[in-house]
Amino acid sequence: MLDEIFRTTVLASAIRLATPYIFASMGETFSQRSGVLNLGVEGIMLLGAFASYYTVLETGSLVLGLLAAIGTGLLMGLVTAFVSVTLKAEQGISGIGIYLFGLGLSEMLFKRLVGTPTHVKGFPKVDIPVLTDLPVLGEVLFNHNIMIYLAFLTVPLSACILNRTTLGLQIRAVGQTPEAADAMGISVARVRYFTVTLGGVMSSLAGASLSIALVNFFQGNLTAGQGFIAVALVYFGAWRPYWVMAGAMLFSTVNALQLQIKTIESALSFDIPDEFAVMAPYVVTILTLIIASQRVEQPTALTKPFERGE
């Protein structure tokens, strides 16, 4: 019985729960690999979630909703890059500013333009011929909506860009030794603008994955701290896309297990305290983070604004 629960319900749940984390943390990986810590992910997620939700509510078009999220992410990414790269602001503080801005503005717009939570028709589940009908695997892996597939697709794509392309090499160089990159003729500012803006778009898509694909509602503070967890997952995954995804899946799987705690209890015939179930995802994350921090080093120039000639 436990085997069945774990294979189907828990894993399918974990995949859905991991989706916003993967979008946001992939974007943040790019940003951090180039040396910019963006703590404003949560705020951009909220704005992306609202922009896509409101667009779908008004037009009924999911494509327009997605475009609205991309546009919002682009704009917020540029603002973040302007503050962090051009103005060279303290990244931790400015990120909190972006977060508070997103939190407040999304809530205000929601109150003014929508009022009370209203359901929208989000992305439907996509049946993939043959694959969806596979026993067990079909239900776990191939019974989701397009945003979920898109999120997981960004992982190999990110790994490929970072590790196998010239752009990836430039991003890593800028995050590791910006002075050397600059001396080689790479524009540190341009690379960082690109990564931070990309991070903005991905964060916004993370928000949209909640409001028009998974939850299909919007309300104030919809993301409830997921953006901050996404930032932590980048550290957790040691700035490597596949490890970041593994972290997101681990966190989400423990969360999904928590939802099945009663079934697991009855199958095992003993009580697991609810408090333990609730704290388990965080405990697992912290422990793994401690272990991970022993073996990897963060990008040397992370959080350090680049000043030519310094």
Binding site: S13, V83, G97, V215, F217, Q219, N221, Q258, L259, A277
Partner: protein, 370 residues
Amino acid sequence: MRKFFVAALLVVLLAVAALPANHAEPVEAQDTFRVAVVMPSATNDLAFSQSMYDALVTIQEEMGEDNFEFVFQEGTFVVDDAAIALREWALEGYDLIIAHGSQYGAVLEEIAPDFPDVSFAWGTDSDTFGLDNVFAYEAASDQGGFVNGFLAANLSESGVIGVVGPVEAGDAKLYVDGFVQGVAYVDEELEVNVNYIGSFSDVALATEAAEAHIANDADILTGSAQMVVGAVGVAIEEEGDVLWFGTQANQTELAPEIVVASQVYHWEVILTDMIELIQDGTLGGETYSINLENEGLVIEFNEDFELDEELLAEVDALIEEIIAGDVQTLPEEDMDDGEDDEEMDDEEDTDGADDSDDGEDDDGEDEESS
């Protein structure tokens, strides 16, 4: 210059961010009763915070805008932010300051003694900290939960019912326990799966909890607190195969096709009494409870959802039995607390101050809660 620019930009960003949180309109009139309230979620959450907002609007309509003014700070899930607002309002001399959320209890206990001439109220909890200027309030939500459970058991075809709870504390726990008891009252063989997701705000997790219930064949769902919109969304996607029961506010608006009934909190029933006491010079020391008897709890049906007349009559009779105390709405182990509550309800319309300090069990202080 650049630093100035950065600072100016941050100030603008923070100012915009703060916009929705402040609706304070200072009141000049001396005899106007002024209330300030801090709450964990939005005033339009169709749940806990909205129930208080609606109550204050109702009182304002009854007393008139010249006689009653209120300000509020919504979405205050950070307790320290609430503490700043509470202290500021106390300094400004509001007549009643409400901390609407059990997580605010610790800060209120610290702040209230500094302002002995200002009246505070908080809930849901029964603890007034032994202070003469603190009222406590709670909801006997197990009663409406029981009624919802009774209805759910009568409507379920699969025999499986799912409950999405936040944190196992306060009125959410009472509601869930009452609901489970109500289902068992009809048929003990029915399966009620309860999930406490450990959060009052994690909509994504609430969504997944509902998915898990439906995967386990649930055809009726219910849940408490502001994160349930996610669960309602999942129920809507089932296009009529899964029904929803609400609590705290009337949730018909969320999903008119599938909401059967909601237990609605009418805090105005007890707030009116508090206001009268404050105007007479009593600033606190009493614990209040809303329940079916004092009509602080009302079962509101979705008019567009057709229910059998016979079943509706049974619900009316059941409500009468609950009010009369003939039906046990909580499981045995919870009854001690429940009985205390009932006694307080009987006394609440009198001056019998009940500054009980025994309500430690439902002190969910980890995040926004009810």
